[in-house]
Amino acid sequence: MSVKVDPNVMKDLEAFGLKDAKKCYHCGNCTAICPLSTPENQFPRKFVRYIQLGQKDKILQSPEPWLCYYCGDCSLKCPRGADPGETMMVTRRYLTSLYDWTGFARKFYTSERFEIMAISIVALLVGIGLLVFNTGKPDWQHASLNSLWPKENIELADLGMAAVLSFLLLSNVFRCFRFVMGDLAYKVPFKYYMDQAKELILHTVTQKRFNECTDRKQWLVHLLIMTGYSSVFLLVVVFLRWFQRDQEIYSIWHPVRLVGYYATFAIMYGTTYAIIGRLRKSKPPYKNSHPTDWMFLILLQLTTMTGIFIHFTRLLDWPFATYFLYVIHMMVAIPMLVLEVPFAKWAHLAYRPVVLYLLKVKAQYQQEQPAEASVAVAA
């Protein structure tokens, strides 16, 4: 079957940040140098080609973009300056938009204006919400958030938000699963999905594959941001009742406090490193910054910073400053969560481990069904 070449894909992808892929002359150096590319799952050159030929379907069905952690070795070695690493990044943005059925992700990536508007609107709504829905009886003596916004209520709102976000994200993850698995999706026995579940967890927690890249620093920064972000996410969404406390301040060794400190440090270190890197364009992954990359780093750092301030105003027991900063904090954190998790950069947090996991499932299936697999290949 011959496939039609769609030259518009390439033009379309420019909005997702595609810049230098045209320069590629397909020497294959990038694939050869890539520590993560394997004979079964080759990249990045193949994707440069798919993009040049506008092979949208091929891209959609490919797991490879998620196997790339953007160490940038390929871009360093490319003799034509075609920046294949960035092309893989663009492919991930593109996939995120294709997985997303709401069409929001696409808007987010292709229009900076839309992105800023969306964030502002959500921020505004959060601000108004916090001003409108509160007890109306703030404690002006002591900094007591619960006096204005009782944690039970926040927790409820949290859970509501989590439900919506989960639904959106999971529905997109499901689409990702269908695209990547193709015909195999339901052919593979459930048992294999179960067998490989531990891989899913392992990869999510350790980002083990990234560690195979030559630039270990990138893996560390990535791990710090990821774990910091996840632990704080757990604290504020799941463990909020232990987190948002007013009266007794936990002792310095209390686990919640420790986790909080770790997360703060990890995020601040990681994001600062990344921001400086992007400003200085210090290495290939930082050379090209899409507006969504900036937005993500800025929101994350702002959230953390306002969080730190609140921590201090509470310790100093300044009620007004605490309440004010809390509103700001929420106005930054909520849009970040609501918009970035299902529709933008944060979504890869889900896609990457899921795709790795699916690949393992596929591999196990193919290994244990040699006859069937070879028939499929022959066909």
Binding site: S2, V5, K23
Partner: protein, 742 residues
């Protein structure tokens, strides 16, 4: 003139340590009867040269045999006016490649001194050829395209009068159709500045331009060319020195292409030349309805590099496709343009232009055999995309442009052999040596009045034969140099360089010829063939075999040599069965005497002898190289350099074998399509002649294995020792030559 032989033996460079110089000197004085024989520890030094000069001045020495290094070195040092100088190579080919102080080595050196003296005694000082007619240094340029115009201008700038003949009514050639060109530094499209060049030529007082004209007839030879130019029914005559052929090319006929490429199936499938015309005459549109082009594909190598169509690469069409693709993009940046190629050939700085095309967003598809499908006014190209392994469709195309190639102007016209009137009454003689005829097409460009045919002989695909490996611009007609796309496919940059190169060659030719000297590759040689006509049998062998068509014929079929056309290869000398052709410094008798000067030991001494007749251009330097690398070869051989193996006269083989020498080894250059022979046909002709001699040898019950021919290139020195040993072993097997001692 009184002659006085003087032999000089150099004892430097290891010669003195490896040989008995006293014995060697005795050979010179006793055997060769040289009144003067001296040796010097460093003959090429000022002191050594002065020694010789003193003898010339004070003793009247004028035939000098210099037994020292190879004649390939120090030729400028051992040059003495009005003296015959014979170089005997006892360094590279004796002491450097033989065991020192060995009996065999000494014998070899002594033989070489005898041979050198024998040759020197027969040599006369050549007198430069002066034709009766006045000699012209003017340069004729045939073709007024980019190459022709440039050649004319370059020659004129160098101070030569030029006549330029263009068949079209206007100057400019193909480039008139080209609005933008791609050339150095290959970054951008540049506007074609051809008009400036045309104006420069037209306003140059040193250039006489004929447009709408053709060359009707050329006779004579370098510096005495008589050229008739026909223009508007009248004929102008010019007396010219040399000719630059810049007749250009024609596009390959797309009607001959594979139907898969869709030419003729839709008006929207066009060639790169048609695109060029369309662009120059306005905008690029879809030919069927003049609507804008939104999607276009360029299919490269349309019928090119394909043995069934045009077997070679035209070298410019990749650039042309990139240029035209960019032109579409510049006309409409949203247009989608694809280039489907076998290999993209943009060598050197041209790569930058490929980059530019990439930047412009042109998509490249590597595919060996795309197919064009026509659906109404739209076209689709199906291609195997080698870079993704997918079969892809380029759909909704408004335009498909085929990269058809260049055919040289010389490739058109009938084969001269076929149109030549048959000389019916002549019967084929039984012993006749059949020489393959050259491919000469009657393309009506030069109309030479040469016996071998009216145009330049071709090698392949209709391009004029030029010994392209070593001598670009040369043709097989002395004084006629090809430039531009008639020589090989090339772009603008190549044509400019070519034009200057060919003009340079033409200038060298007129300068050397007016001094009576030969042109390349024996540049400066003042000898030329002389015919002892009384004994000529009108066999035509010389006129047919001369690789350069230098010999015409009168009504009685007598050869009419035209010495300014001659390259001094001496192929005619080898061809002549009557042995009536000779040069002042190279003749059958000279080589014969060299052979006779070799001492042949008695059978019981078990020292066989082998004569090597070696081409001076490749085999001889290869033998030198064996010495330079201090390798060793068989001590039985005696090397005689020949101008060209094509000068081999069969009598030498008879001389050798009848003297009791055990074998003859001919070392010549590769022949055939990939020939390396400096004189193109020489080594091939010698091998053909040899096949005849072998029959004769068999008849004389002399084993034909005693004569061997081998093709050798200058780089083959590693092979040489084994090759010689093998031949020697074979001769031992056959046994000694029964003629020994007679």
């Amino acid at each position: 003139m009184e002659t006085k032989l003087a032999v000089y033996i150099c004892t430097g460079c290891g010669i003195g340590e490896a040989l008995d110089i006293e014995a060697l000197s005795k050979v010179a004085t006793k055997d060769c009867k040289a009144p003067i024989c001296r040796n010097h520890p460093n003959l090429c030094s000022q002191d050594g040269v002065q020694l010789i000069k003193n003898d010339i001045a004070n003793e009247g020495a004028n035939v000098l045999v210099i037994a020292a290094c190879s004649p390939r070195v120090m030729y400028d040092v051992f040059a003495f006016d009005d003296c015959v100088v014979e170089r005997t190579n006892i360094r590279e080919q004796v002491v450097w490649c033989q065991k020192p102080n060995d009996e065999d080595t000494q014998m070899m050196a002594e033989d070489y001194v005898r041979m050198g003296a024998a040759k020197a005694k027969k040599t006369e000082l050549p007198e430069p050829y002066k034709p009766e007619q006045e000699m012209s240094k003017d340069i004729l340029v045939v073709g007024g395209g980019l190459a022709g115009l440039t050649a004319a201008l370059e020659a004129s700038k160098a101070g030569y009068q030029v006549v330029l003949v263009e068949k079209e009514a206007e100057l400019g050639g193909f480039q008139k159709k080209v609005a933008q060109k791609v050339t150095f530094p290959y970054k951008e499209l540049t506007a074609n500045d051809l008009n400036q060049l045309v104006q420069a030529v037209e306003s140059d007082s040193g250039i006489k331009v004929y447009t709408g004209a053709k060359v009707e007839k050329i006779s004579g030879g370098p510096c005495v060319f008589d050229v008739s130019i026909k223009q508007n029914g009248s004929t102008a005559e010019h007396h010219m020195g040399a000719i630059v052929l810049a007749a250009g090319w024609q596009p390959y006929d797309p009607a001959n292409l594979d139907g898969k490429l869709g030419y003729g199936a839709s008006p929207n499938v066009i060639t790169n030349v048609q695109f060029e015309e369309m662009f120059t005459s306005g905008a690029v549109v879809r030919p069927s309805d003049q609507t804008p082009v939104k999607n276009a594909a360029f299919l490269q190598c349309a019928g090119q590099r394909d043995p069934e169509y045009l077997p070679y690469c035209s070298s410019v069409c990749c650039f042309t496709a990139l240029k035209q693709a960019i032109q579409i993009k510049q006309q409409d940046p949203d247009a989608n343009v694809f280039v489907v190629y076998k290999e993209m050939r943009t060598p050197g700085q041209g790569e930058d232009f490929y980059r530019k095309a990439q930047q412009e967003g042109i998509v490249f598809v590597r595919c060996q055999s795309p197919e064009v499908m026509v659906q109404g006014s739209k076209l689709t190209v199906e291609a195997d995309d080698e870079l993704s392994g997918e079969k892809i469709l380029l759909a909704d195309l408004d335009l498909v442009v085929l990269a058809t190639g260049m055919v040289p102007a010389t490739a058109f016209g009938e084969d001269f052999k076929a149109v030549q009137p048959k000389e019916g009454e002549e019967k084929e003689k039984e012993d006749e040596i059949k020489v393959p005829a050259d491919a000469i097409l009657v393309s009506d460009i030069l109309n030479l009045e040469y016996r071998q045919g009216p145009e330049l002989p071709g090698l392949r695909y209709g391009f004029p034969d030029s010994h392209y490996i070593c001598f670009p611009y040369e043709s097989r007609r002395t004084g006629i140099y090809a430039a531009g796309c008639v020589r090989r496919p090339m772009g603008v940059a190549g044509a400019l360089e070519d034009a200057a190169g060919a003009a340079m060659k033409a200038i060298q030719c007129v300068e050397l010829t007016t001094r009576g000297a030969s042109v390349h590759p024996r540049a400066g040689d003042l000898s030329y063939p002389e015919f002892f006509m009384q004994r000529c049998t009108q066999c035509k062998r010389c006129t047919e075999e001369c690789p350069f068509g230098a010999i015409n014929e009168d009504e009685k079929a007598n050869p009419l040599p035209q010495p300014t056309r001659c390259r001094r290869c001496s192929v005619c000398m080898g061809a002549c069965p009557e042995r009536i052709i000779s040069f002042k410094n190279y003749s059958i008798a000279m080589i014969g005497d060299m052979i006779k000067a070799i001492e042949v030991p008695e059978e019981d001494e078990e020292k066989p002898r082998i004569v090597i007749l070696a081409c001076e251009n490749d085999a001889y330097p290869a033998l030198d190289m064996v010495g330079l690398r201090r390798m060793t070869y068989n001590a039985w051989v005696r090397v005689i350099p020949l101008r060209c193996l094509g000068s081999l006269n069969l009598v030498w083989i008879a001389d050798t074998l009848s003297k009791g020498i055990d074998g003859v080894f001919l070392l010549g250059c590769r022949h055939g399509d990939e020939y390396q022979c400096h004189f193109i046909k020489g080594s091939e002709l010698s091998e053909i002649r040899l096949s005849k001699v072998k029959e004769t040898l068999d008849r004389l019950v002399l084993e034909s294995d005693r004569v061997r021919f081998e093709m050798l290139s200058i780089a083959d020195c590693d092979r040489l020792p084994a090759l010689l040993d093998e031949f020697a072993a074979r001769l031992v097997e056959i046994g000694p030559n029964p003629y020994k001692g007679y």
